[in-house]
Every structure is written in structure tokens, then in C-alpha cells.
């Protein structure tokens, strides 16, 4: 279905778009789907309509993966992000095609893919640096050594921007995971294709199972689940009006979830890639110890 239509001489093998949980590509446990159509109404693909159980499973995977991912060295996390960029570069043609299929011009598509690759490189570089920028040694008045460091919040639920298939997703996942969080991302509902292909890139990039989990589905159905899950530490969301803002935060309050609102952001702009997005998904831990003998 998402086949390359120009290859008429043989029947193309259509790709089945599945979801990505715990390093595996299952179909939604619900068996439901929604049809993704091109402008002319032709079905491009049947997209998994993930259920809250899929989300639950994804959170379990993310929670399980989180301590190990956080414990891995910043150097290693940087290299893995770099590896994702390498893999994406190698498959950029596929992503360009998918973006075009979803209505972007070739030029737009190219820019989005190259920006996504560069963005991954950008955050890969931050892996072993953001801690140095945001940590502090605090000159307390008593005889104690006191320092504040950043620690990952834990499991981040990411509702990727709806108007972007790839760059919006990458721009929200990368700063979350580079700092040791794991995440469960809900893709754009309108343009879900690249997200699943991106999951395949992740799968080929030494990203440990469960660090990134990607679901496709309906926002109306899943946003509330993302916001309310008691074992999710923070939720990042990117579009919607006051009504969405209200419902997300109300649900988030049940476990005092951190709500990271990133609306109206031009994700293609390099101005919107910066370490403060990493810091958004970090807690600050302050440690005291006496100085004596």
C-alpha cells in the first residue's frame, strides 16, 4: 500500500505499519486500525489504532528499561543517538518518500529529513555536556559539600506534534532520552508513517528495548491515558487548544505529573533545539555531605 507506485514492472511489497513496544513490533493488541489516506482518498496504509492496553504495555517496558538506560554512560547515550542519526541518514530516501506520500513537497521532505538527522547529532553531542551546564556546586554556609545535579525524571509520555511526521517526533524524543529518560510517544495522527519507520531506525541503532516506544492511534482516545497514567513521570504535548491543555493538566495532577507544554513551536527551526528541552525532562537532585574528619 505504501508502495512505490512507479515500480510498475513488479508488484511492490507493501509495508505493514506496526507499533513499537519494548524493542518489538507488535500490532495493536486491540486489533483495531484506522486508514491513512492520501489527498485523493486512496488508502496509503492501515495504521494501528493503539489501545490503552498498548499504552500500558509500553509504559511497563519504558519503566523496566529506564534504570539501565539512565545508568549507561553519557558517552554511550551520545553514541547511540549519533548511531540513530547514521541510520536515518542511510535511509533518508525512504523517509523523503514517506513524507512526500503524506503530502509534503520533495524539497520540504528533504529539509525535514536532513534537519531530523542533524537534530539527532545535535542532541547526541549534548549527552555528556548538559549536566555540566546545568549542575552546580552550592556554596552553603555550613561545613558541607553541596552539589546539585540533573537526574532523568523517568518515563516521559510524548504526544508528538500533529502537523509533523518526523521532525516533531524526533525533536521531542531526542532531548528526553539523551538525558536518561525512556519514553512512550504517540505519533502524529495525521502523518504517522515516518514515526513507525523511525522506530525501525531506532531498532537498528543499538537503542535498548523499551527506551523508546512508539504508538500510533487517535489522540482523542489516548491523550487522557497518557496524561493520567500513574507510572508516567512527565507528559510532553505539543498541540491543541485550551480544552486539551485543561484536560491534560487535570489528568496529570493525579500523580503531580510534570506537564511540558510545547505548543506553536516551529520544529524545523534550529532555534528550537536547545539544552533547555533536555532540562525540561530532568529533576534536580541536591546532595549534602559534611566536610570533616
Amino acid at each position: 500500500m505504501a508502495a512505490k507506485t512507479k515500480q510498475k514492472q513488479r508488484l511492490a511489497v507493501a509495508k505493514t505499519y506496526k507499533i513499537y513496544i519494548d524493542g518489538k513490533f507488535p500490532r495493536t493488541e486491540s486489533g483495531r486500525y484506522f486508514a491513512l489516506e492520501d489527498k485523493k482518498g486512496k488508502v496509503i496504509a492501515n495504521i494501528c489504532r493503539s489501545s490503552r492496553k498498548d499504552f500500558r504495555n509500553a509504559v511497563v517496558a519504558a519503566r523496566k528499561a529506564q534504570p539501565g538506560w539512565a545508568k549507561s554512560s553519557a558517552y554511550l547515550r551520545g553514541q547511540i543517538l549519533y548511531r540513530i542519526a547514521e541510520m536515518l541518514e542511510g535511509r533518508s530516501e525512504q523517509f523523503v518518500d514517506e513524507l512526500v506520500l503524506q503530502g509534503r513537497t520533495k524539497l520540504q521532505a528533504l529539509k525535514e529529513v536532513t534537519t531530523a538527522i542533524d537534530r539527532l547529532i545535535y542532541y547526541a553531542g549534548w549527552a555528556d555536556k548538559f549536566q555540566q551546564v546545568f549542575s552546580s556546586v552550592n556554596p552553603v554556609a555550613s561545613s558541607h559539600f553541596n552539589f546539585s545535579v540533573l537526574e532523568p525524571m523517568g518515563v516521559i509520555a510524548v504526544i508528538a506534534p500533529d502537523d509533523s511526521s518526523l521532525i516533531g517526533l524526533v525533536s521531542n524524543i531526542a532531548p528526553a532520552i539523551v538525558g536518561g529518560n525512556t519514553c512512550v510517544a504517540l505519533t502524529s495522527e495525521k502523518y504517522p508513517l515516518c514515526a513507525i519507520s523511525f522506530a525501525e531506525v531506532l531498532h537498528a541503532s543499538d537503542v535498548p528495548a523499551g527506551v523508546v516506544n512508539i504508538l500510533t492511534g487517535l489522540r482523542e482516545e489516548l491523550t487522557g491515558q497518557f496524561a493520567s497514567h500513574m507510572d508516567v513521570n512527565a507528559i510532553t504535548w505539543c498541540d491543541g487548544g485550551t480544552r486539551t491543555a485543561k484536560s491534560v493538566q487535570e489528568a496529570a495532577a493525579d500523580n503531580i505529573k510534570r506537564v511540558i507544554s510545547r505548543r506553536d513551536v516551529d520544529w524545523l527551526s534550529d532555534d528550537n533545539a536547545h539544552p533547555y528541552l533536555i532540562r525540561d525532562t530532568q529533576e534536580i537532585k541536591t546532595t549534602w555531605h559534611p566536610i570533616g574528619s
Binding site: I256, K285, P290
Partner: protein
């Protein structure tokens, strides 16, 4: 060391005579209005409530009850000051005003300390040595940030938010006011502060200081009242930022109430901190740490070390030493310089604590209290420990906010980590061991915003404070505390 078999005796013999802090220099008015637009004004509806001394249940003053209209006036005054003199002022000058507040507070430190103890019930030793000096130090610290914000946020441009609505609790009334006001003002915001219903006096005395420091009218407004006044502050549409310290229950309500608004918020909420003692710890200092952890300020401390985990090989020894140490704690008149544990802040809080004492015993916990005498009038609770309790008990899970410690033992490092983190809270934690590698390992694994290693309940203006998980959002104190009061833009 073996299990102590021989008991020490602390009663009878030489004892300390009363050593009351003098209050002849303290001025408390009979009635306080609301501090709005630089002056004390009567509340619109003319309603007042009593603030009492919890140590003798006597009335200290009548305090205005602000309703929606009063809060509206305060927010408008704050907005006007923000749009006007304060917003236009050079950062350096702004800083100098904040320095002034710090200095005047230092000058009037004894008066502040006495009133804090009168109104809130905390021992004068603590208000004198901890609350008041730390509050002044907070203003002094943040004053210096006013003209240095560009260095706090590399690569970004920091801009003030506007009007900050701030609601503070009764456990550290003046200190919490300082934690809220100092960074807000330094970053260029104006403030509407709502002190707790049972402890409004030091905030009102702070209003006097702010007036004496000649801050432009409306930069700081102080509205007194109960929960509905706080709600009016939080939900007022003219407020750009909300800062709240209090229970997780109310924090949750606030987070919901702010849903759909663009208000930035920080929440400092409850806690149930684990204090973990390994067998190789400096045991006597660890026992002091337990005492400071749970009996400081009557245990009315969100970061109190209310869950003690002791490695089993030293558990009997630690508990025996703790019991002996508890016998030397003096419970009584907050104004007495020798008092270690003052009055419980209110009758309501005492009821809550007592209900947990009953629950703990019903759950099968073994309760031990020190044998000290208690005054006849006022609200009091003896230092209390529970042994024989487990993770599933309510006294282990729920925040009691009183001098009540739940003690459990552990065998392995991993067991301690698992039990310590097995809570919805994540404000603070304590680790006691003489082994450096273990300290770093454990302090990394405890999921909490502040971890004290071989110490407990230490605070400093330069040191960020705040929780993980249900203990809150954001940090107060230090460079990181500025973040709550600015929005960051591209340079």
C-alpha cells in the same frame, strides 16, 4: 557493640530552670489589616479572624480575612507596580531594595524569632537559629541575582513573568515567605503572598519591613485568610505565576485549577522521607540525624525523615540510643530557650497526629514515647517512635506531619533502596554510612530532590530544594530556584 542492656537515667537530679526569651521588645498590634499597595488596609467586608498562641491557646491578634475583592485589589496593585516602577527599575536598583529587606530583617531578628515562636509554637532556639537567619539570608542571596540573570541561563534571555501569587504553609511561616518573595522579586516580578491561616503574624511583620525598606507600593502585597483566600490568589486571572507550598492534596487541586491557563507554577508538597542507617555509619551522629530528621520543628516538616530504615545488625543499638536521646528532649514552652520540641501548631493538627498514633497501634505497631511532662494548656505531642511496622502500614505510607517516626529494618543495600523508593513521595532522603562509594551509590538511587548524606535537615539559600514525584514540581533556592520566576526566550 552489643545490644545495650544497662539503662541510663535522665530524670531527677540537676535540671534546667525556665529560661524564657524576653518579649518586651516585641510589638504585636491588636488588629492587622491587609498589606495592599504599600499600606495596611481594612478588608472590604470587614471580617477578621483570631490568630492564637498554640502553646497556651490565647489570642495574639485579630487578622483580616481577605475575600475575592481584596485579593483582586492586591493583584491589581501588584500589576500596577509591575507595569510601573518595579518593572521599569534597573535590575541593580531592584537588587538593592532586596538587600535592604535582608538587612532590616537581621536588625529585627529577635523580634521576628519571638513572634514566630508565639504564633506558630516552634521553639525559640529554632526560630532564632534557623528560621529567621535563613530567611534574611535568602533575601541577601537572591538580591545579588537581580542584575546577574543573564549568567544564570546561558544562551537564553530571562524575562520576569509578571504577578506571582504565592501561598505558603504554617510550618516555616517567615522562611517560606522569604523563599517565595526573594527569588520572585530578584527576577523582577511583583507578588501577592497569602500566609497560612494559623501563622500570619511574621508575614505581616515582614510587610512592615518591606514598607520600611521603601519598596514601591504594590510590589509586595500580603493578604491573610484561610483556604478560600488562597484559592482566590491561585485562580485570579491576573496572576501569571503560582507558587504553593503545602500538602500534596491541595497541590493536586491547584494543579488542576491551573489547567488550561498559561500560569507557570511551582509546588512544594508533602513527603515521607527515608532515613537509611547502615551498620558502618557513625552511629551516634546518625542518632542525632534521626532526631533532627523527625523532631525538628515538631516534625512539621515536609522533608522530615519520618521513615527510618536501620540495617538489622545495628537496629537494637540504634533504637536503644534513640530512646535514651529522646529522654533528653525537652517538650514545652516554645519561648523557653531550652525547649527542643514546641507546641503542635493547631488543635486540628494535633488531632491528626493523635489519630495516627491510634492507627499505628491498631496496625500492630509498638509505640514508644519519651517520658517528659507536658504543659496543661496548649497542643502537645511527645516524641514518638513506632517499631514493628511495615511498608503496608499507614504510619509508614502517609505523611503525619508530627513528631512520629516509623522504624523498619533492612538487610541488604538493594532492600533499603527498594523500600526507600516505595512511596509516591520523593522530597528528601538520608543516608548514613562511613563508606564513600556506598554514599554515592545510595544518594543516586534514592528518588528524591534533596539527599542528605551523613547529615539531615540542612537548608541554605544557595541550595535548591524540591521534590520528585508527588512531592512537587520545581525547585526553590539556589540558581535553580530562579527558574520558577522567569520565562526564557531566545537571546
Amino acid at each position: 557493640m552489643a545490644i545495650p542492656e544497662n539503662k541510663l537515667a535522665f530524670d531527677g537530679g540537676w535540671d534546667y530552670d525556665p529560661a524564657p526569651e524576653s518579649t518586651d521588645h516585641v510589638r504585636i498590634d491588636k488588629r492587622y489589616g491587609l498589606f495592599i499597595n504599600g499600606e495596611f488596609t481594612a478588608p472590604e467586608k470587614g471580617r477578621y479572624f483570631d490568630t492564637i498562641n498554640p502553646a497556651n491557646e490565647e489570642k495574639l491578634a485579630r487578622v483580616a480575612k481577605a475575600d475575592d475583592a481584596d485579593v483582586d485589589k492586591a493583584v491589581k496593585a501588584a500589576r500596577k507596580a509591575y507595569a510601573g516602577p518595579w518593572g521599569r527599575m534597573k535590575a541593580r536598583e531592584r537588587g538593592k531594595y532586596i538587600y535592604r529587606i535582608a538587612r532590616i530583617m537581621q536588625e529585627r531578628a529577635r523580634e521576628f524569632a519571638a513572634i514566630e515562636s508565639l504564633d506558630g509554637g516552634k521553639p525559640i532556639r529554632e526560630s532564632r537559629d534557623v528560621d529567621v537567619p535563613l530567611a534574611a539570608a535568602h533575601f541577601f542571596y537572591y538580591a545579588g541575582w537581580a542584575d546577574k540573570l543573564e549568567y544564570a541561563f546561558p544562551g537564553r534571555h530571562a524575562k520576569s513573568l509578571g504577578v506571582a501569587g504565592q501561598v505558603i504553609p504554617w510550618n516555616f511561616p517567615l522562611l517560606m515567605a522569604a523563599w517565595k518573595l526573594a527569588p520572585a522579586l530578584a527576577a523582577g516580578n511583583t507578588c501577592v503572598l497569602k500566609p497560612a491561616e494559623t501563622t500570619p503574624l511574621t508575614a505581616l511583620k515582614l510587610a512592615e519591613v518591606i514598607a520600611d525598606a521603601d519598596l514601591p507600593p504594590g510590589v509586595v502585597n500580603i493578604v491573610t485568610g484561610a483556604g478560600d483566600t488562597g484559592a482566590a490568589v491561585v485562580t485570579h486571572p491576573g496572576v501569571d505565576k503560582v507558587a504553593f507550598t503545602g500538602s500534596t492534596g491541595v497541590g493536586r487541586i491547584i494543579q488542576k485549577a491551573l489547567a488550561g491557563t498559561n500560569k507557570k507554577y511551582t509546588l512544594e508538597l508533602g513527603g515521607k522521607a527515608a532515613n537509611i542507617i547502615f551498620a558502618d555509619a557513625a552511629i551516634d551522629q546518625a542518632v542525632e540525624g534521626i532526631v533532627n530528621g523527625i523532631f525538628f520543628n515538631q516534625g512539621h516538616v515536609c522533608c522530615a525523615g519520618s521513615r527510618l530504615f536501620v540495617q538489622e545488625s545495628v537496629a537494637d543499638q540504634v533504637i536503644a540510643k534513640l530512646k535514651d536521646r529522646m529522654e533528653t528532649l525537652i517538650v514545652g514552652d516554645p519561648l523557653d530557650k531550652n525547649t527542643d520540641i514546641g507546641a503542635i501548631n493547631s488543635s486540628m493538627q494535633l488531632e491528626k497526629i493523635e489519630s495516627y498514633l491510634a492507627i499505628g497501634q491498631q496496625e500492630g505497631g509498638e509505640m514508644h514515647q519519651s517520658s517528659c511532662p507536658l504543659p496543661d494548656k496548649g497542643y502537645w505531642c511527645r516524641p514518638t517512635i513506632f517499631t514493628g511496622v511495615s511498608q503496608s502500614n499507614r504510619v509508614v505510607q502517609e505523611e503525619i506531619f508530627g513528631p512520629v517516626l516509623a522504624i523498619q529494618t533492612f538487610r541488604t543495600f538493594d532492600e533499603a533502596v527498594t523500600k526507600a523508593n516505595n512511596t509516591p513521595y520523593g522530597l528528601s532522603g538520608g543516608v548514613w554510612t562511613d563508606k564513600g562509594a556506598k554514599i554515592f551509590n545510595m544518594t543516586q538511587k534514592v528518588r528524591a530532590g534533596v539527599v542528605w548524606a551523613n547529615t539531615f535537615n540542612k537548608f541554605d539559600p544557595t541550595s535548591p530544594f524540591g521534590g520528585y514525584k508527588e512531592s512537587g514540581v520545581g525547585r526553590e533556592g539556589g540558581l535553580h530556584g530562579l527558574d520558577a520566576y522567569v520565562k526564557l526566550g531566545v537571546k
